[in-house]
Symmetry: C2
Subunit: 226 residues, 2 copies
DNA sequence: CGCGGCTTTGATGTTCATCAAGTAAAGTGG
DNA sequence: CCACTTTACTTGATGAACATCAAAGCCGCG
């Protein structure tokens, strides 16, 4: 009886240096779970008992500040592996992960994975590469946002979804205006005002959650500066 | 002939799961280099050929934005191991590292270290833990700064140096006002104005680069909000 | 000594948050 | 399914926070 992990398209990302024997060991204990839009996948502060990675969907990584307000650190797709973030540095999750689109996650027992990681250095190297790439992306993205003003930040987020997430100039915004604000560190009202302004200037078209980027060159200019 | 690494106080951080035989192998090729304040240790964009870690001093991690302005991502002491950041995710450095105090760095050939990492999974796990801790710290620190206003950010930076770097309410600020500004994403003038205001309110005393925190409770209040 | 970089302060204007008020949309219980 | 409540969205008015511009003093260094 072959394990279904063998045919998983994400196999090579983590398990290219894992033997079939090991893979079966890991695969037997795996559990696939679906989360609908809005559901919390990981809650900050909770004990880390499982090793999980995204198979499908889109999630947000966030944290509640001591003022009680949520800050959104990043969004991520399956290949970003943002769920690995605290796994090797802490026993508790430092961030929350929430589905912003229906998502599928594969769940493994952390101890089993760690046992393999302690024995198979190439596997551990692969994991490290993933974790490093994910964190690099987060740090660079946040630096980019930091150096822009309000309009630049909103433009940046729109381009992020168009280019990086959906590969399309027309898309359904998976998050609320408030969440954009929580991500770029501005107020909801000003995010809305900026979007309205882009609409008036015919840079984008808005139909509720649906966005169409009409003048990409100009949006890129605004993202770069003001 | 015993290798001097065996007596290095940082040995256990990286090499607690490395055999004496392996350690000698690594130790033989090591080179210790000193950098004076202001010297560039790592330049973004350069090929990564070496594996380095800080033994002494204080450095800043930074990046030049496409607008040509420098942004300071974080400061770090020896145990933060910020120099490992891009090592396992890219072949080129994504950030620059500059000494802000006289610093000593231990330099190993990256290939040799990687060879060991591929064979010794426990060593690789140790490295991963370090890298994860370093990046976690960066992400959390930048989130904290992001949610504060100008005064809160300046207060935060002062408390960071007092509590985390120097363990003393009196210290010599290792960086310029401009560098504080580049770290917190505000202008140099406003950083200076804020420091002057803290001085007028008798929260701190300033003698050029020397800072004394006179009313820590209040500074903490300002850091928390406003 | 003079030049460039760092520091400081003031004046001014822009950007952004806050407050307020209203509409639309979405979830909730009878 | 409809009234009801809540949450999301939108716009405007106002003031606070912050950037920019300008000018001058200071310090280290060639």
């Amino acid at each position: 009886m072959k394990c279904s992990c063998e045919r998983c398209e994400l196999k090579t990302l983590f398990f290219s240096h894992v033997s079939l024997y090991e893979l079966n060991d890991i695969c037997e204990i795996k559990e696939e779970r679906s989360f609908s839009k809005g559901e919390i996948i990981i809650k900050e502060g909770e004990q880390i008992k499982e090793f999980l990675y995204m198979k499908e969907g889109l999630v947000k990584l966030s944290k509640i500040g001591s003022d009680g307000k949520e800050q959104i650190i990043s969004f991520s797709k399956p290949f970003d592996f943002v769920s690995l973030l605290s796994v090797f540095s802490s026993d508790k999750y430092k961030y929350s992960v929430t589905a912003v689109e229906n998502s599928v996650v594969c769940i493994l027992d952390l101890e089993v994975v760690k046992t393999h990681a302690k024995q198979n250095a190439m596997f551990t190297m692969d994991l490290m590469k993933r974790v490093s790439e994910a964190t690099d992306k987060i740090i660079l993205e946040n630096l980019e946002i930091k150096r822009k003003n309000l309009k630049g930040r909103v433009a940046h987020v729109l381009l992020y979804f168009a280019n990086y997430v959906y590969n399309n100039n027309e898309f359904e915004l998976p998050i609320s205006r408030r969440e954009i604000a929580e991500h770029i560190g501005m107020t909801t009202e000003n995010v809305i005002r900026t979007l309205s302004e882009f609409r008036k200037d015919k840079i984008i078209k808005i139909f509720g959650k649906d966005i169409l980027i009409a003048d990409k060159k100009r949006l890129e200019g605004i993202s770069e500066f003001g």
